[in-house]
Amino acid sequence: MSEVLMIDSVLLLLVAATAIAVVEVRSLYAAAMLSGIYSLLMALVWVNMHSMDVAFTEAAVGGGISTILLIGTLVHTEREEKKRKTRVNWGALLVTAMTGAALIYGTLDMPRFGDPNAPIHNLRVPEMVNQTVGMTAGAKGKQPPPVGWTPRQNLELPLGHKQAYAMQRAHATNEARLKEAGEGHGGHGGQKADGHGAEHEAGHDDAHAHPAGDFNGHVPNTVTSLLAAYRGYDTMFETAVIFTAGASLILLLRRRRRPGENLPKQQSANLTDQVILRVMCKLFIPFILIFGLYVISHGEIGPGGGFQGGVILATAFILYGLIFGRPELHRVLPERLTDILAVLGVLLYSGVGVFTMLRGGKFLDYAFLNPASPGDGEPLGMTLVEWGVGITVCTVMITIFNQLAEEESK
């Protein structure tokens, strides 16, 4: 019974109770607020299960942006659900009960919670982790796996012949280089990796000796390394998904602008009459902006990254829009600027990919950004990509807030 499980079991009961409350409560803004609470509790569950980045995203995106989206919709629709004669729909309840029972029957032979030998931990992950999802701790390039790294997961993987040949070839090139490079890395040559045997080398000196199964990203935060480097392709299209959401919001909700009319000049509801709120928000907004930039930029070292930082930046602008009114927000961030920046983010991301291709590597192979010492190219590539994602997410969230808050011309 690890501590994680103890806290987890209590927290998840709260989460389940909130979920039922969200579905059953009649007034819609209560449902919006409860879904905000639900996301906050869910983020607590993620923190308890050691997944910091997911907790970050769930809190910022689920707790913040979704609640503001729902409330923005309620402005245009009515606030109460229609009174129904029967409160419970028995047919739907029966169907859900049956599917639930079948699914629960399915989980009976799932691996135990936290079981280190579960199949998910033994396929591909040891190979990825063994080649040191390392860090740029002073020394350039890949780090040797730490001493005694694999006490629990060092299962002998049945290597396919192609993989064995690739590993063997990479090993041979490493040996050759080690002989003529003398002691290997100056910085911490002392740590010989006896635990795993294979001495890893910077790996990219000759353009094509990319060792098999190299996960391309070697930064302390393995989640960002996987997100931006190993799955860089998916994250690029995910940024495109966010941009498409912003574009569809513009198409659906933005009223046609008569030529020359920049923004409909109608009296906006601002909260500037409340002195304390206005002064406090003027005090906070710079700090929120700095914090958002910090979260984007240190995505490699700690939890954070493009999505979370972009959303935090967006909430700073949204707070400014809430307090000082939307025309004021429009004066600070005109719609044309946000549209251009949204496109720019996606372009920056794919631009980095094209650039690495021009440098001779594969698409989004960050090592080729700095062929001299590939260990530095990877964090550089990932930072650029995170900034691209951050810009797009920030501007799209602001556009979404702008469109939802736009009053329909009577």
Binding site: I276, M280, F284, F287
Partner: protein
């Protein structure tokens, strides 16, 4: 137990007790303003006690392994306490003003709890 862990334990107990009384008040008080009174105030004090208590710790042992607490983290804890010290009262003030403008009348003795 070193002195800082004892002081931290005391501060934690005080902070948690204050927080629980605040939540209990939120549950049992008859009307909105009295609930606002308990939840708003206790939160600010409870988080201050807990964060100052946590800032005293310099080493956390989890099943035998002693993880050092980075001094930067202890400073950051105080920063978060200060940040929360400013935002919580502002939010409570905003809620009160909104309720007042909306004409929510405070509860008087003898009325049924709202």
């Amino acid at each position: 137990m070193a002195w800082n862990e004892i002081v931290c334990a005391v501060l934690l107990v005080v902070g948690v007790l204050i927080s629980l009384t605040g939540s209990l008040g939120l549950l049992r008080f008859p009307d909105f303003y009295s609930r606002l009174h308990t939840a708003g105030k206790t939160d600010s004090l409870a988080q201050l006690c807990i964060f100052v208590g946590l800032a005293l710790i310099d080493q956390v042992t989890v099943d035998g392994v002693a993880y050092p607490v980075d001094p930067l983290i202890r400073i950051k804890l105080i920063m978060v306490a200060l940040l929360l010290f400013f935002t919580a009262p502002t939010a409570t003030h905003a809620i009160t003003k909104a309720a007042m403008l909306d004409g929510v009348m405070p509860w008087k003795k003898g009325e049924p709890p709202k």
